[in-house]
């Protein structure tokens, strides 16, 4: 196993509807496909279904209609603020969590997995801080440690939940560069964001507002109509008609 040479990944989602236990569908009519090497922005307001889509792709909630086919191991990279910063874990401990599922309960984490975790940390630029406490890292470094954890899982599909929240500009650039590297290796990145400008940077954009509003390349997909349908009255379209900002409070209650 290696953290740097995965096989080509693929996702096919058709007519997906998903719901939480005993509730109505939280998300419906989602149809899109992606191939290894693509990065897809999952754009929408809070409560629009971004996290619901991720949980459905991970098999954590019921798919009540449609189908999901994923070729490649899937990993979830949470927002760094969702992780407990006061926990006694180092960056290496966090990366090693990616190997927990394949470690029998009666064994220590294998030496090979320890090497993989160190490689993954080097890959995300944290090679000099494996012993640093996770809570003492900067927002961008914490995000990178969580991505290292996904690499140790050998994930070919990465579901990234607001990866730039709480990350400074310099780290944002470093993470963008790292994403380019991951795409070049044939991985698929799904990047949940409520930031329209952020969504323009990726290969495809999937707009969600309880149901799929649109899917396609950002240049043709992010029209005023689509953005208004996605964000409703919260959207502001600037003079030239191409730049738009979603006005909303960001919270974690998706």
């Amino acid at each position: 196993m290696s953290v740097s040479a995965p096989a080509r990944a693929r996702i096919e989602v058709s007519g997906l509807a998903a719901s939480y236990a005993q509730g109505p569908s939280a998300l419906r009519d989602v149809t899109f496909s992606a191939l290894g090497g693509q990065a897809i922005a999952v754009l929408g307001p809070n409560g629009g279904g971004k996290t619901t889509l991720f949980r459905a792709l991970l098999g954590e909630i019921a798919v009540v209609a449609g189908s999901v086919a994923i070729d490649g191991h899937t990993a979830y990279v949470p927002q760094t603020e969702r992780a407990r910063l006061d926990f006694p874990v180092s960056a290496l401990d966090v990366a090693l969590m990616g190997a927990y599922a394949r470690t029998p309960w009666y064994r220590r984490v294998a030496e090979n997995d320890r090497r993989l975790a160190l490689d993954a940390l080097a890959r995300v630029g944290l090679e000099d801080r494996p012993r640093e406490r996770f809570g003492a890292l900067s927002g961008g470094q914490r995000q990178r440690a969580l991505i290292a954890r996904a690499l140790v899982q050998d994930a070919r599909v990465l579901l990234l939940d607001e990866p730039f929240a709480g990350v400074d500009r310099i780290s944002e650039g470093a993470i963008m560069e790292m994403f380019d590297g991951l795409r070049a290796e044939g991985r698929i990145l799904l990047i949940a964001t409520h930031d329209i400008e952020q969504a323009r940077r990726w290969d495809r954009v999937l707009c969600l507002a309880g149901a799929q509003i649109a899917y396609g390349p950002p240049a043709t997909t992010l029209s005023t109509e689509v953005l208004e349908a996605t964000y409703g009255a919260e959207i502001v379209v600037l003079e030239d008609g191409t730049r738009a900002i979603a006005v909303q409070h960001h919270d974690h209650a998706h």
């Binding site: 990993a75 949470p78 969702r82 006694p88 927990y100 470690t103 969580l146 899982q153």
Partner: protein, 276 residues
């Protein structure tokens, strides 16, 4: 020297010392997870919730551990119902049920099944009451805590660190949480004879909270937590013997005093650091 040898040569104290050492192993290990997972208030309330069960155990002819477990399970069931169905916040629901359990136990003990001085033993523990069954129970939970800490540490660590991401790591977070709560309930029941319903936190929370101030890694937290829980239990028992106190409060005083000293020393050494 006789301060030490007198109690050690007394048979009932020997049993109490063995029990508290075994409970220290369970309490220290489990306490680390209770503190990390912010379950300290829940643990305290679960202990107090056993009080009405203990009061009716004698009159109803039920073994006290069984009655305590029954009361603890009723507490857990009601708590789950209040938080999930009625939408009451977990803290508020826990506080409400804690008050209800203590009130119910008090009414039962004073008006329905007058228990006299026995109530003190139920609430604060006793040096005299450690039976063979209590020792076996203490040994059982110590063994279970050791085994679980080895087998489930990774699941508990990953789930506590990042609850939303743990299932995607391929870990059964829900099962891990259920086992943690079952083990917590068993340890509470086992600790009742020694420290009483009101002070199970002295073994399950205080040593681990002190260890948290001294430890940067999980391994040291577990090791220091166990060492402190055993040491505080033994010193507290000796104090209880000499001062004629129930063991629960004596252990609480030792544990609380040590926590305060460590916190003060840490604050002097690192005045700017905020305690997590």
């Amino acid at each position: 020297m006789r301060w030490l040898t007198d109690p050690i040569t007394t048979p009932y104290m020997q049993r109490a010392l063995v029990a508290v050492a075994l409970l220290g192993v369970a309490g220290g290990l489990l306490g680390a997870w209770i503190v990390l997972r912010r379950l300290a208030f829940f643990a305290h309330a679960a202990g107090s919730a056993t009080f009405p069960g203990l009061v009716v155990a004698g009159p109803w002819g039920i073994a006290p551990p069984v009655a305590a477990l029954g009361a603890g399970l009723a507490f857990a069931g009601l708590l789950s119902r209040l938080t999930r169905r009625a939408g009451t916040g977990a803290d508020a629901a826990t506080g409400l049920l804690l008050a209800a359990a203590l009130a119910l136990g008090s009414v039962l003990a004073s008006d329905v099944y007058p228990s006299g001085a026995g109530v003190d033993s139920l609430l604060f523990g006793t040096l005299l009451g450690v039976s063979d069954r209590d020792l076996w129970l203490a040994g059982g939970v110590a063994a279970l805590a050791l085994f679980s800490s080895a087998a489930l540490a990774r699941t508990w660590l990953a789930t506590g660190f990042d609850p939303s991401g743990a299932p995607a790591l391929g870990l059964d977070a829900a099962r891990g949480d259920r086992l943690l709560l079952v083990l917590l309930a068993a340890t509470v029941v086992a600790a009742l004879p020694a420290v009483g319903a009101l002070l199970v936190s002295t073994l399950l929370v205080v040593p681990a909270a002190t260890a948290r101030l001294l430890s940067g890694s999980l391994r040291t937290l577990l090791v220091v937590g166990v060492a402190l829980a055993v040491a505080e239990g033994v010193v507290g028992l000796l104090l209880a013997y000499h001062l004629n106190l129930p063991p629960g409060p004596a252990i609480a005083v030792v544990g609380g005093g040590l926590f305060a000293c460590v916190l003060a020393a840490r604050t002097i050494a690192r005045p700017r650091e905020v305690v997590a």
